[in-house]
Symmetry: C2
Subunit: 342 residues, 2 copies
DNA sequence: ATTGACTCCCAAAACGTTTTGGAATAGAAT
DNA sequence: ATTCTATTCCAAAACGTTTTGGGAGTCAAT
């Protein structure tokens, strides 16, 4: 089928060993032979069989990434951007990327285990960490290289990159409080997600800083989709004493909340303030443009990937973990100072 | 390091051959031996080394997908959904998915070639086909299995799934014309993309059906992002005689156009009609909700993946190519009948 | 006794590469 | 003549699996 080292060896009348070594530029091969071999390889259109190389070298130069998909209509812009970040970096460093899609749950761990045990990947990138994360538990205990985007409450320590969601949410809480809002709602996400936990916590603290206590009736939980943002925001607006500001746990839900408010005839940025978190590209172009917290997803993907590859190669990491300070992006969805109409 | 067939063989006192055959349930192994081997394998925590299997079997059970990324801030919800479609199907059929990210261009082809020649994947999924598509040319000529989402103008024939963009756009054109619009603009995409070509063509034809000629000053080109949709729509609205309807080549640009119109103080669905194409999840929740053409991206991914795997296994395809008839989703971005205010 | 059929097993080759541990030759130094 | 050093090469083992092509033993029919 395809041309192998053996074919080249036969053609140039040397051994397979010599051909291999010539191609790898070992210095126990004479310049003439090297020249000869290279030319033959070129002529015959040789490309190494990577599978064979991998078997021999006992490494795959591949990193694994398991996309947590939820149902068919899955499409968090977050992931395509993150994927682009790790994909481009991996390619640059000569690594392939093996992607699987898998809903979180029982089966998920098996997928990890299989890839680890049968040597399909050299390391993993973990995303959407959970407070108690069995994936991380497993990989830690197996001593398998991985880097996470996000922290966890597990005991083991491991390299990660994370954004300081707590800090970011505090920024937003302060912003809303400074605008004069008092009845503030929070559109939260499932608490088992580590980042959702931090965001809720940060928001509570931020309000507390300003002497406001987050009313627990004002906290509703959504599944991070726009659709659910719409639904949950609607239920908030249906309260007898509805909020004048809604902070959502992510941009997608905030966009849903904006639709919900507008459906009620409210003018977002005047009658009600709404904030997001992530600064996805859409946030800039929503109507009104969304005030949110910026998170450099592409760069984080890039960084996580680089850390993982260093770890695979046992190179020292500059730092075991990175906690980024996010920034507040003020657009128009909160408007000016809020004047209580009463 | 890890337990191999040899280890098991040693433990049970049989040959490696027998162990292998026992595990594969060959019937020239006695039931007792099978039992013995299976138990030992279980006990010792054996998992086959897939790399070795691949080398031996000369196939990888992996399919390749190269994501055409454009710059860092890349995030077409389209791709995450499509990826989920192929990923889930691949997993179900026991295939892995090797994903690369690569900007279209010179280098791109090398990435394909490398993966083909070094046996990294058994087949490819091609997406965003171009009128003249070197990837398809190459794979055709190399006789390598692939399935495309989209058609091309290349001579070779190959299996694909595509949506009838021409038909879909005609639907939209008719809809706008029926609403009474006369000055209609088209927010097109680079014509080298096959689907962009079809969409423009279909739109022109659709208007022609209604006796309207598409004015070439009313056709502007964008890069499919929301940001560019905003920019290009703004330039349309700046014309001395601006359009009363804008049809965008995809939803993302339509969303940008909505923002542009709203920034002008226009009420979308009353002062101006705007349409999209794709029906991404966001379209349902934009403000106003977007009238668009539905494209079942997840299912298409699923189908493409299944076709590819059949092709790899040389099973017959039910049909070499599938052309889906899309459907019109009428929401609120075109409003009711348009009354010319003059 | 020989043949045939059947059951259970295995040594060796193969997949394509890299690495190990020399071997062979030539020239220079002793 | 012998030893040493350099230079250039290669056979064989190794990575872990599957497949090929039998071998050995048993039992029954001839």
């Amino acid at each position: 089928m395809s041309v192998t080292l053996k074919d080249i060896a036969k053609k140039v009348g040397k051994s397979v060993t010599t051909v291999s070594r010539a191609l790898h530029d070992y210095d126990d091969v004479s310049p003439e032979t090297k020249e000869l071999v290279h030319r033959a390889a070129e002529d015959m259109g040789y490309t190494p069989n990577i599978i064979a190389q991998r078997l021999q070298k006992q490494r795959t130069d591949t990193i694994g990434f398991i996309l947590p998909t939820f149902g068919p209509r899955f499409s968090d812009p977050f992931f395509s951007e993150f994927l682009a970040g790790i994909g481009n970096k991996a390619a640059k460093l000569g690594y392939d990327l093996l992607v699987s899609t898998h809903p979180p749950g029982e089966e998920e761990l098996k997928t990890y285990r299989r890839k680890v045990q049968s040597y399909l990947v050299d390391g993993f990138i973990i995303v959407r960490t959970r407070r108690k994360d069995t994936r991380i538990e497993y990989l830690c205990q197996a001593g398998f290289p991985f880097v996470a985007f996000g922290r966890t409450e597990e005991a083991c320590d491991f390299p990660y990159v994370d954004e300081d969601s707590e800090y970011g949410m505090r920024l937003l809480a302060h912003h809303l409080a400074d605008l004069g809002h008092q009845r503030i709602a929070f559109l939260a996400a499932p608490e088992e997600l580590m980042f959702a936990h931090f965001r809720l916590k940060g928001f509570e603290e931020g309000l507390a800083d300003k002497g406001i206590q987050l009313d627990e009736k004002m906290v509703v939980f959504g599944d991070l989709t726009q659709r659910d943002g719409f639904r949950q925001a609607t239920s908030l607006l249906d309260l007898p004493d509805p909020p004048t500001a809604i902070a959502a746990c992510n941009d997608l839900m905030a966009l849903g909340a904006i639709s919900a408010a507008q459906k009620r005839g409210l003018i977002v940025g005047k009658d009600i303030a709404i904030t997001g978190f992530d600064n996805i590209p859409l946030a800039e172009h929503s109507h009104p443009p969304l005030t949110t917290i910026h998170q450099p997803i592409y760069q984080i993907g890039d960084m996580v990937c680089e850390m993982l590859i260093k770890r695979i190669n046992k190179e020292p990491l500059r730092s075991q973990s990175v906690l980024q300070k996010p920034t507040l992006v003020i657009r128009e969805s909160c408007g000016e100072k809020y004047i209580n109409p009463n």
